[in-house]
Amino acid sequence: MKILNLLVIIILLFNFNVSKAQDKNLNSKITKNLRCLICQGQSVYDSDTEFANSLKLVVENKIAEGMTENEIYELLKTKYGEWILYDPVLNQKTYILWALPLLLFLIGGAIIFKNLKIKKN
């Protein structure tokens, strides 16, 4: 236990000057989350088609204009539809998508814990 305590203290000490983890390249982060609409299952980032290249430019310009990541997604969504976003937004259509796996996890856990006994006999 002593080791653990010591460790916690060390971490806390170091933690005061944690440098902000910054994403080096917002552009590539965004384009990785965009589907290249004319390709078969490739992201804009990975594709070299004209569509992808023009979209890379659009993203670059929008970043230069000072738009945030979410604003860019929103813009592209209204233009091309949700199909373009690889990260499905949470809304009416996708509640089930996001919640069902987690729900199944909880149910699975409940079944297991029902059959566990804590005390030795």
């Binding site: 236990m1 080791i3 653990l4 460790l7 060390i10 971490i11 170091f14 933690n15 944690v18 440098s19 983890a21 990785k32 989350n33 589907r35 078969q40 299952g41 490739q42 992201s43 990975d46 070299d48 004209e50 539809g81 949700e82 199909w83 373009i84 976003l85 690889y86 990260d87 499905p88 259509k93 996708t94 089930i96 998508l97 996001w98 069902l100 796996p101 987690l102 199944l104 996890f105 699975g108 856990g109 297991i112 059959n115 566990l116 006994k117 804590i118 030795k120």
Partner: protein
Amino acid sequence: MASLIGFYSLFFSLGCSILILLFSFKNLKNTTNFDNKLLSLTFLQLVFIILSFFGLIIAFINSDFSNSTVFNHSHTTKPLFYKISGTWGNHEGSLLLWLLVLTLFIFLFLISSKKQPKKYRVLTLLFQQIIIIGFLIFLIQTSNPFAQIYPVPSEGLGLNPILQDPALAIHPPILYLGYVGSSIIFSSVLAASSTNYISKEWAKHIKQWILISWIFLTLGILLGSIWAYYELGWGGFWFWDPVENVSLMPWLALTTLFHCVLVLEKKLLLTSWVVILSIATFTLSMSGTFLVRSGILNSVHTFANDPERGLYILIFLFILIFLSLIVFFFFHKTDGRNKITFFWLSKETSILINNWFMMYFLAVVLIGTTYPIFLDVLSSQKISVGPPFYHKLIVPFLIPFLLAMAIGPKLNWIKSDLQNKFHLLLLLAISLLLSFLIIRILEISFLFNTILFTSAFYLFFITLRDFFIKGFKNLAQNIAHFGFSLLILSILLNNFLSNEVITNLKIGETYRSDELTINFEKIEKIKRQNFEAIIGKFNVKKDDGIVEILKPELRIYNQPNIVTSEADIKTNLLSDKFITMNLVQNQEYFNIRYQIKPFMIWIWFSVIIISFGGFFSLFKKKYEK
């Protein structure tokens, strides 16, 4: 001629199936011994399928364009190796390969299961034949690999160049051995259920087949991943592409099943769950085939599609599921010991936890892959589910999963205490400290990544220590778990340390940055058998002064007329240097993408270690405590 023999062989093997069905029923009723006619017929059927398969290969080798499969997927100028691998690089041929594996496995099953009860063996054969008949009719009806064309064309349409690759030539056969191998588990579990033979002996015997499928599936997925890494030229190795997901799902189910069967073998528990998992594994393989072949999925891997085929597989799939439900609900006898509870600190519980998480991962992949399809059908709204979805739902759950993987194998059956608590804590402290240092150096977001790294390191150190103190005891398990920790660590480091430069260069130009310069020296043109290659020569100089020469290619294939970009990769133990070049349209510039991908080779290597764990377990005499 070869096509003709191949075509008629299919009918002969269908004939064998019918005879086998007849004799099986007779054998079930009358005698006490296994009828050897059944074995001979199964062998004969295998021979016919092999004949048919070789018929197709020979048609490909001879470029016999009167055969429509050859016409559509081959070309006279293609190298011999790819003429042969083209045999299974298409829908019709790959289905023939399915059949080959189906018949091969049932034959191997029959000759290796002589000690098992007669009724169980006959029934397994029977169920397997139902699958074989389904596929034979599917093949002959909707996807005949030997369809004729008249007049005979003088030249073929050629094979998609990205499939002309050594890794992809062997990827389908290996993957199919795993995929289709699960059919034996399916047939066997139905047979064992209906004869009430789900027992410790059965678990011991079926474990071998689970392992065989699992090893091949693991290696098959690995080969596909390696191929995607260097051939698609994106530098990634896993894209959460629907077709990749479809191969991952049976893998997750098989891994879960394997752990469960261990409990069954030792304690005769979880019988119904084992039955359900076995059925699920094969069903997932079949659904995968359905999804890929029906053209519903939007993926790089999609074969030419045809709704009629999709419909057939779907109906067949429902028949199989219906059949297994009947067997499960009407024949499977639960042993009336459902009220069994587990002590919380025991090997059984840790395996249940494994099951719990694996099923969750499976649910994420399954829902993520199929949800967009259902949404599209029901409300005609299109959404994409890509890597961010899977990362968000899977990565956080890896933390407890890794910890359980480290602690679980240390527990005993029924109930146990943790011994050596000191070492467990010490290693945890070391892992934490190490992760902490790495996170500081990498300058990435702090809390979550530290915990993630810690749990991966923890599994790493615990398994590493066990190699030394436990020696051969539990070695197979330890190897596999060690491999998994190495895999996660390599992926994490690869992900955080990858670096890239994307730039447009003319011949003779040099790109400069603080860390490196890339000099585009020249290009040369070389004519090869079925493509023309433009090879670029790049000198990459890093700040330490070492110059590396990289030669990526652009290939212009003659038939079909497609340009592909071939990456040049320099691999060493620490990192891969990866370069691709592409033409920028109507300009003299080339688009250059230079990537440094650390620990790539460790990702491949750790998957090999994982599968080696399975391999080792296969040849181990008995499973120790």
